[in-house]
């Protein structure tokens, strides 16, 4: 389970401080698939980064009794000057993964071919997303944090993500940030909306979507 306890987060802005998250409280059960909705800049990504441990909240605490992935987003997790292979090696070392089998999985999933030997900064955003996705999935986390990133790939990539994440790893928890309501509707079993720095857990995904649409 993941418990967010009274999470409050502020950023310095224009000489003062801007509160993006105000006393967020919720639990995520094993296997739960939570969609997080909200307008641009509402604090969705910040919350996901706090849950992933990338950002430290101003106040409050995240308790994790299951393994949680890093936030899978457009940026982060890679060293741009290193090649895809070197990034892969690094991740294998710190997560104690077998290099050969992980390499085989990433090769098969990301389909980057020889580009994997080039520095990550030369990749297109689609290629980056494929690599990031492959590496995240290669590690068997109990909970995956996904920030928009699924939407950048082509149809074939989206289908493979569906297969690996929602079918083969259907028992895992997922926190998903997206503006794609159809996707949220098919994938999530619960949803919450962040608006005016308040986090509202809705009774159903349909409720959350209608709340979001009314904003």
């Amino acid at each position: 389970m993941i418990s967010c306890i009274d999470i409050t987060h502020e950023y310095p802005a224009h000489g003062g401080r801007r509160r993006v998250l105000d006393h967020v409280n919720f639990d995520l059960e094993p296997g739960q698939k939570l969609g997080i909705l909200g307008r641009n800049g509402a604090g969705k990504s910040t919350l996901v980064r706090i849950i992933g441990g990338v950002e430290i909240p101003t106040a409050g605490e995240v308790r994790r009794s299951m393994s949680v992935s890093w936030p899978l987003a457009f940026s982060g997790a890679f060293q741009g000057s290193l090649s895809g292979i070197d990034n892969l090696r690094f991740i294998c070392r710190i997560y104690n993964l077998d290099y050969d089998s992980t390499r085989a999985f990433v090769d098969d999933f990301a389909e980057l071919g020889r580009q994997l030997g080039e520095p990550v900064k030369t990749y297109s955003s689609g290629m980056r997303a494929r690599l990031a996705f492959a590496l995240t999935i290669a590690i068997e986390f109990d909970c995956y944090l996904i920030d928009e990133v699924i939407m950048v790939g082509d149809a074939r990539f989206t289908r493979r993500c569906q297969e690996e994440l929602f079918e083969k790893r259907g028992d895992r928890s997922i926190i998903l940030v997206s503006h794609e309501m159809n996707f949220i509707r098919t994938v999530c079993d619960s949803a919450a909306v962040i608006h005016n720095s308040h986090f509202t857990m809705c009774d159903s995904v349909a409720d959350a979507i209608s709340f979001y649409d009314s904003l």
């Binding site: 992933g52 430290i56 890093w70 060293q79 000057s81 290193l82 690094f90 070392r93 710190i94 997560y95």
Partner: protein, 260 residues
């Protein structure tokens, strides 16, 4: 107990991965690649040793020039490299903090191991070369020489943790650091021995932990002929205090680091 051992094992794995990564990003795979970690300080130490041997008198205050330069310059290089690599170390490695079990302390320890290993190896190579070519005598007391180096290593780590945490909290540190490092060279004890200066000013030099450890290194190299002055007790507690301060700042620095 097992969990504590396990977390040490995780930290060890992470630090090792960081060391390998640092070697790749800094030196790449061109020409001698990661061997530059030793090559760079060798160029410095050997260059300065050769230059000083050529242009300075062969003995100063009764001490042979080459050995004097090597015993001073190697610890000084270690300190300068460590402090230099500490500045903004967290920002440069921000992407790594995406992985939750990589901590700011791991990033510094990895850099410290690399710098210390690099300068020590370089120093050993230059010293062996100079001894082999007859420009330098082997050390009189190897144990004392290593004790001095050990003090210097811990002092470097302490400084590195302080500078890294301070530079993350304030941008001003970065602007001042190179000037401060340059101005503090006289206080490093690399180019002067405490016994050379008038007795009433010696206490100023002896305040510096770097002077203490370099005096120890030289006591090991020259024996009683070096007239080294040092205080192991003062060196121990001053360096311990500095390191604890640096460690406490480092452990609390995560909040100040913006991970992109």
């Amino acid at each position: 107990m097992t969990t504590l051992l396990q977390s040490f094992a995780v930290q060890g794995t992470v630090i090792w991965a960081l060391i390998l990564r640092e070697m790749q990003t800094r030196y790449g795979r061109e020409n001698i690649g990661f061997l530059w970690i030793v090559g760079e300080p060798i160029i410095f130490c050997a260059g300065v040793a050769i230059l000083w041997t050529l242009i300075r008198p062969s003995h100063e205050h009764g001490l042979p020039m080459t050995a004097f330069v090597v015993t001073g310059y190697v610890p000084l290089t270690m300190w300068r490299h460590c402090v230099g690599r500490g500045v903004k170390a967290f920002e440069a490695n921000g992407a790594l903090l995406f992985h939750r079990h990589v901590t700011p302390l791991d990033i510094l320890l990895a850099r410290w191991v690399l710098e210390v290993a690099g300068t020590l190896l370089a120093g050993a190579i230059v010293a062996f070369g100079a001894i082999f070519l007859g420009f330098m005598e082997p050390p009189v007391d190897v144990g004392l020489l290593f004790l001095g180096l050990l003090f210097q290593m811990v002092f470097c780590l302490g400084c590195m943790m302080l500078i890294a945490s301070a530079s993350e909290r304030s941008d001003l540190i970065e602007k001042f650091i190179s000037a401060v490092m340059y101005l503090s060279i006289p206080l490093s004890g690399a180019f002067v021995m405490v016994s050379w200066i008038p007795e009433k000013y010696q206490w100023i030099l002896l305040l510096s932990p770097s002077v203490q450890s370099i005096e120890m290194v030289r006591a090991g190299q020259f024996g009683p002929a070096g007239h080294a002055i040092y205080d192991v007790i003062y060196a121990t507690w001053s360096i311990a205090l500095l390191s604890l301060w640096g460690l406490s700042l480092t452990l609390r620095s995560r909040r100040f680091i913006t991970v992109i």
